[in-house]
């Protein structure tokens, strides 16, 4: 057992965990944040994507012990008192969701992109979500949704 200090969705946690646990296991297990999905468990599908210190990562490929003192954002952390995150809202408004299994990871990959580059072009968007597999939507509406979110975030940025 080891002690792990993590900041998850803005809240500090001190956890006693098994040495071998993956970040994904900690998120879904002790933290109970089941919005993060396990798909392939080997870094191919992106369903388990979370944001780790600003970068989208596959939480199935990260050992929890490597995350001491780090900041993690999961899908549960996107909604604020002001409502849904622009990416979440844009996915809803564009009908970019079908079965939903890939959506938490897809939204977080998009969020990580837009936080770094608020005005990406189509290719940058496609590349940013290319590690997230989706079998239902054909990606088209997702790309449109991320463009919509980008526009909303740019408008908000200008207003600030």
């Amino acid at each position: 057992m080891i002690t792990l200090n993590l900041n998850v969705n803005g809240k500090d946690h001190r956890l006693e965990i098994e040495d071998h646990m993956r970040l994904l296991d900690v998120i879904r297990g002790p933290l109970g944040l089941t919005g993060t999905k396990e798909g392939c468990g080997e870094g191919e599908c992106g369903a388990c994507t979370v944001i780790l210190d600003g970068n989208a990562v596959d939480s199935c490929l990260v050992l929890a012990a490597q995350c001491e003192g780090k900041k993690i954002v999961t899908i549960e952390g996107l909604e604020t008192a002001d409502g849904l995150d622009p990416v979440q809202q844009a996915f809803l408004d564009n009908g970019a969701v079908q079965c939903g299994y890939c959506i938490p990871g897809m939204v977080l990959s998009a969020k990580a992109l837009l936080d770094k580059n608020v005005a990406p072009d189509d290719n940058e968007i496609k590349e940013a979500i290319s590690g997230n597999l989706c079998r239902c939507t054909g990606y088209d509406k997702m790309v449109k949704a991320i463009k919509t979110a980008s526009e909303v975030m740019q408008e908000r940025g200008e207003q600030k």
Binding site: E42, E44, C45, Q98, C99, E127, C136, T137, G138, D140
Partner: protein, 345 residues
Amino acid sequence: MLKRGRGIALSWYGTGYGNGFPDYSVATVELAENGEILLRVGATEVGQGSKTIMPQVCAEVLGIHSDQVHMICEDTREFLDSGTAAASRQTYNTGNAVLKASESFKKALLEEARLYLKLNSTAGLEMADQKIWLPIFPSRKTTFAELASHLKSEGRVLAVTDSFTAQTIGMNPETGEGVPYWPYTFNAYGTEVEVDTETGRVQVLQAWCVQDVGRAINPDLVEGQIDGGFVMGLGYALYEDLGVKDGVIKNNKFAKYIIPTAMDIPTIHKYIVEDPENTAPYGAKGIGEPTMVPVAPAILNAIYDAIGIRIFELPATPDVVLKAIVADREAKAKAAVAEGADANG
């Protein structure tokens, strides 16, 4: 060298179980205590949108907003079975059951209103926005909520169940006579591809998907189905190979079984064709599977247009395409040599 080509393919596809197999769907419409509508339907929502469009059908019949219809499809204690979410059948088959149940419920609700308002007949009663009234004597009026609390005071629940069974006739194995499917969905898809003749890599640059849907109950969902079907067809045509050898699946993980990513998708132009089917709920037909059918032939035809070579193997991965290009080049060289020999001889 990069070579571009365009190809089209058309398909028609019978939806439902077909071949005379009893394709049965059932729905129950119930007045909830608060005057809203409960729609109990065993139609599984797997992301295709049945939980969106079934309430739309019910709401259309009852003249209310679809937000006022609560569909229950998650707990099998709460509804009767409407068969699988398969065979592209829920919109047409279960949609018809919902339509019939909603129409029967409307009649039953009007009859309750007649009794409650002490009228001779339901003739001329209007229903909209959760209200029922008699236009020729407008003070005779009530609401869904008022009727619901009246029913509750009498210890009654108004729930109406109705069903739909599709009409198909199994084919006679001797003569081939029959009507194996009804209805059919039609489409015509086109693609533009770029083939790299050095590597055999094929990229789809653009797609045009013209899809008959009978009636688009929810155009956003129809577009989503076209996108999804096209991209699954794209994977089938160019990438996805289980690699079954001696009964064992070789490509048993996403690292080896390659499905399209966002970087593989072309611009997808979508055209919805509405030609209402007269046996369908508001004319709507299923398109779940049909959206995938013409994709591979449209891509293979485009490859042929680009390089003049027919590919007969799926998926048309770079090695398959390159092998075909090399074989074609060698065959042409041989023919040229033979021709030269003929000319000399």
